[in-house]
Symmetry: C2
Subunit: 332 residues, 2 copies
């Protein structure tokens, strides 16, 4: 299983990204990694780590240019052919790599998927589909969370189909429950786009459409797949991060106000760590970009080594292993 | 201060609503309440409570019809003239009441505000503006959270103006920071509506526009006012409720797994209660419907007596006391 890793993407590039790749190599010997970025930097950093048991299982692909978050996506992909991001995606296009992982510019990654790899037949707009944690150890695929800012009702139907196939493959469940994110459960609720999408979705026979789902029910695991506009999905994802972090801070303040509370908090440390882990997005790896001809995984911009490792092992490897793309070609 | 209370709105109508009204009367002797709903039921319930010190401070307005959540808003307001909701709003229109509180059908309340009271000059669509808790005991007015499902960029600018005046009045701060909810902080990010709204907002001289704010920053208290489309705001509000409730459940599971943890959890009970209170929407009362000619407060559909009491004392009374409507007439 060969993974192309964009070493220059994300807030913690390049060292934490390289570390994530090395950790993945160490943990899973089925993995082969293309480290894509400035050759010398990568070579030096890997040498400094003095890892054993990884020789012959990686390769450095030199890329001297970088696409930053300030770059305009489409233009950057067209002009910066020597960037680590474009070169990493091109490795998938040429068949050298099975999948690509980046924590870099989301828009540019989208554009590279769109222009370098091309879209799957039947899909007009690709979608980013992360896995949200839900109560009781369950999970929910939410798409789109930011690939497409102004989705039409037809886009939402395509997301529903892709999400259903993807959830079936990664959760290993049959006929996953697909819900339309909306402001009320009743038919006829919502904005113009969701109202029209409901009408289309209820006539789709190849997905298990359960109707509208309110945002309140998403963390309860009300559906296996939640379909929404990229703007709304992005707001929900980022709000989850902000709220979880804010809740932890508030809780910490409360728990350390006074000696006895501090003592109590100490006995509960393992419980908190277990809880934190359940809420931690880096446990779930990255979000696949569904709808393009290749396994593309977008990791969070603030990814640390652990998040990159999980993006490689869970998503980058998982998508290929479960044959998600072949299932897309058959099912859509 | 006279408040019209729709006794038949919400999941816990009528008894918890009546109780909330009674609690408000007990707590604040500046308050006078019109209990609007089926006369006999209200009379009997109040008599059964045997409260002292409230006689002469309330009145029952008989209303035999009810607008339910299944009713179509505009039609219901037109046809059900004898409903508790329409009659309660009409008390404000006629000048008998200073403000109205309901936990009933949001759309119908909107429609009643729109048709019975009318819009404030310069406002094309009213907005629901609840207060979100933020870190460090701060608060943020978020609007709209569901009055208008397909907001235009012009609507968003009107929300910004109303939110600014409202925050200035209720938080007693000068030049509140107004942020546009978006998927990135940079100018040019977002969907078509937010991109256009940014262009309009940056030229507004009478508000303190701080630019785009990501959802992640909302719980951190990044702005005093957050402006967004009603669909997005509704998703954010409901997601907050669901996530908070889900986090409490997960935490509870973790904290009670084993004897020592249970013991530890016991010592921390006051801390958890303090935390829960900070996250509890019922502490903040209801959400005002801004933009109509009258002080209208929408309480959560699942409001209990405490939420109703707070909606009356904090929002229903507060809006009138701070002269929010007069300030709207001057400022917009």
């Amino acid at each position: 299983m060969k993974i192309a890793l964009d070493v220059m993407g994300g807030d913690n590039a390049p060292y934490s990204i390289i570390d994530g790749g090395l950790d993945a190599l160490k943990e899973d010997n089925e993995i082969y990694i293309f480290f894509v970025g400035p050759k010398e930097t990568i070579e030096e950093h890997i040498a400094s780590k003095n890892f054993s048991g990884i020789s012959g299982r990686y390769e450095i692909i030199d890329a001297q240019d970088v696409i930053t978050n300030d770059d305009k996506p489409v233009e950057a992909v067209r002009v910066k052919k020597e960037s680590s991001l474009v070169k990493a995606v091109t490795l998938v296009k040429s068949g050298l790599a099975d999948s690509v992982v980046t924590a870099g510019n989301t828009g540019a990654f989208m554009a590279a998927g769109f222009f370098v790899l091309g879209r799957i037949k039947g899909i007009s707009r690709p979608a980013l589909a992360p896995i949200f944690p839900a109560q009781g150890g369950r999970h929910t695929v939410v798409l789109d969370i930011g690939a497409n800012m102004d989705a039409t009702s037809e886009n939402l139907v395509q997301y529903a189909k892709m999400g259903s196939i993807y959830a079936e493959a990664v959760f290993r469940i049959e006929k996953p429950k697909v819900g339309l994110l909306n402001i009320g459960v009743e038919e006829g609720k919502g904005n113009e786009v969701t109202k029209a999408a409901y009408e289309l979705l209820k006539n789709e026979t190849d997905i298990n459409f359960i109707g509208n789902v309110e945002a309140r029910e998403v963390p309860m695991g009300a559906a296996d797949v939640i379909v929404c506009d990229g703007f709304v999905g992005n707001v929900m994802l980022k709000f989850m991060e902000g709220l979880a972090s804010s809740i932890f801070s508030t809780l910490k303040e409360e728990l350390t106000a006074g000696f006895f509370r501090k003592l109590g908090a100490l006995t509960l440390k393992p419980a908190f760590n277990g809880f934190k882990k359940k809420m931690d997005y880096s446990e779930h790896g990255g979000a696949p970009l569904l709808g393009v001809k290749g396994a593309c995984v977008k990791s969070h911009g603030s990814s640390d080594a652990k998040a990159i490792k999980n993006a490689i092992l869970k998503q980058g490897k998982g998508m290929v292993k479960e044959g998600v793309l072949k299932k897309f070609n058959k099912g859509i």
